[in-house]
């Protein structure tokens, strides 16, 4: 019996929804609740990692928020100033939006990963280690997303893509180093 002839308990078969094609103007998260959810996600990840029954680890729960905020505060000025200095076309506001969007998406991922980290921390002593590894992974995701976003805003503004990509890579390297340094301070 072929699948096509089977009685249809399986109801309406719909194809997976198509992803909306990229618009000329990047579609960044701008709603406050999305950012609040992202901040809550990073905090939840740290808290889940700290729930290994160790008070010391619990004290490290806000480490992710401190690292994220530190990277944004310390590295974004260099992005804006360097971008304008090199004569690229995207507006400073769109650069800030690009960075904020990337960190918001990373925070959403952190929220999604919190249950897994919680289960692993509750059943082993891997919590603190997983917390650090989770933050490294989330940070890598955020920085890769920043590169993609910066590319998009420069393209939308009609700027040179090659220069923007190189600049984004250099800035991302700086942000990653700052993030690693802050992670060492807050998580070890």
């Amino acid at each position: 019996m072929s699948v096509a002839t089977l009685p249809s308990l399986i109801l309406s078969v719909e194809p997976p929804p198509a992803v909306t094609p990229a618009a000329a103007t990047p579609d960044f998260h701008t709603r406050p609740w999305v950012h609040a959810r992202a901040i809550g996600g990073v905090a939840a990840l740290g808290l889940a990692a700290g729930l290994a029954g160790q008070t010391e680890a619990l004290a490290r729960a806000p480490a992710g928020l401190a690292v994220g905020a530190g990277v944004v505060l310390l590295a974004t000025p260099a992005l804006i100033v360097g971008h304008q200095f090199l004569g690229m076309k995207a507006a400073p506001a769109s650069l800030v939006s690009a960075v904020a969007d990337a960190f918001a998406r990373a925070g959403i991922v952190a929220l999604g990963g919190a249950p897994a980290v919680l289960w692993l921390a509750a059943t082993s002593e891997m919590g603190p280690t997983l917390g650090v590894l989770g933050l490294l992974g989330i940070g890598a995701f955020a920085l890769c997303r920043v590169i993609a976003n910066l590319y998009d805003v420069e393209r939308a503004a009609g700027g040179a893509i090659e220069g923007a990509t190189g600049f984004a890579l250099v800035w991302t390297g700086l942000a990653a180093l700052i993030g690693l340094r802050l992670l060492y301070t807050f998580a070890f």
Binding site: M1, V3, L6, P7, S8, L9, I10, L11, S12, V13, E14, P15, P16, P17, A18, V19, T20, D27, G41, R105, A106, I108, V109, A110, L111, G112, G113, A114, P115, A116, W119, L120, T123, S124, E125, M126, T129, G137, A140, F141, C144, R145, A148
Partner: protein, 236 residues
């Protein structure tokens, strides 16, 4: 629709089942799909524990559905979050049905693979080799479930390979640690059957020891010296 018809469709075309995104479909499909997954996993557990006697087989049959269902369900929020962060959002209802359909399919494969696993375990296979056989069989039957879930997420978006690697690593870790917490499935021949052993260390602290033992190196015994990924595990 009968359970038999659903079984056929889950085996032949799980993506069609996974495409039933409506909430009503989830409510209607969840119980039979769950029954297929739990039943198949229980049979697989029965085979895994059969070599150690009927009591251990019963224990393993009770625990196996938990090992089958818990890691994929815990990792589901991460799959959803990654999809959203990559710009390829998938509704919760679609993701849930896809997970259940995948698990049902894997449950059926597990039931079919149970005799294959039982065969070597019934002929006094060395303990550590039996454990490795069990782990390899378990991962093999679980793979179709994971691919069904992966196909339920729409294509496209940004940074999808990164999301895939992150999800796979997390799921692997969850399965390993959950299996470690719920052990033993295959009991040691010299130990009386037990439902759960005391939680000691984590899965990494034992992986090295069991690999060495499987190759005939019984130095340092089985028990880990201490716990944790970065800690000392062997006494000097």
């Amino acid at each position: 629709m009968s359970l038999f018809t659903l079984t056929t469709q889950v085996l032949r075309d799980p993506d069609a089942v996974a495409s039933s995104a409506a909430s009503a479909a989830l409510g209607r499909l969840a119980p039979p799909l769950l029954a297929l997954a739990v039943g198949g996993a229980a049979l697989f557990g029965l085979a895994a524990g059969a070599g150690s006697g009927p009591l251990q087989a019963t224990y393993a049959a009770v625990k196996m559905p938990v090992l089958f269902l818990l890691p994929p369900l815990v990792v589901l929020p991460l799959v959803h979050a990654f999809a959203e962060a990559c710009g390829a959002s998938v509704p919760w209802s679609r993701l849930s049905v896809a997970t259940l359909a995948g698990l049902a399919r894997s449950g059926l494969l597990a039931a079919a693979a149970a005799p294959v696993l039982w065969l070597p375990l019934s002929v006094e296979t060395p303990y550590h080799l039996a454990v490795l056989l069990f782990v390899a069989s378990f991962m093999t039957v679980l793979l179709p479930a994971l691919s069904t879930v992966a196909r339920a997420v729409p294509r496209g978006g940004t940074l999808r390979p990164m999301a895939l690697v992150g999800t796979a690593l997390t799921l692997g870790l969850l399965i390993a640690q959950t299996g470690w917490v719920l052990r033993p499935f295959v009991a040691r021949p010299t130990v009386a059957p037990t439902f759960l052993r005391a939680v000691e260390g984590d899965v990494f602290s034992a992986l090295g020891a069991t690999t060495r033992s499987a190759t005939g190196d019984y130095d340092d015994a089985w028990a880990p010296e201490s716990a944790g990924v970065w800690r000392e595990r062997r006494a000097e």
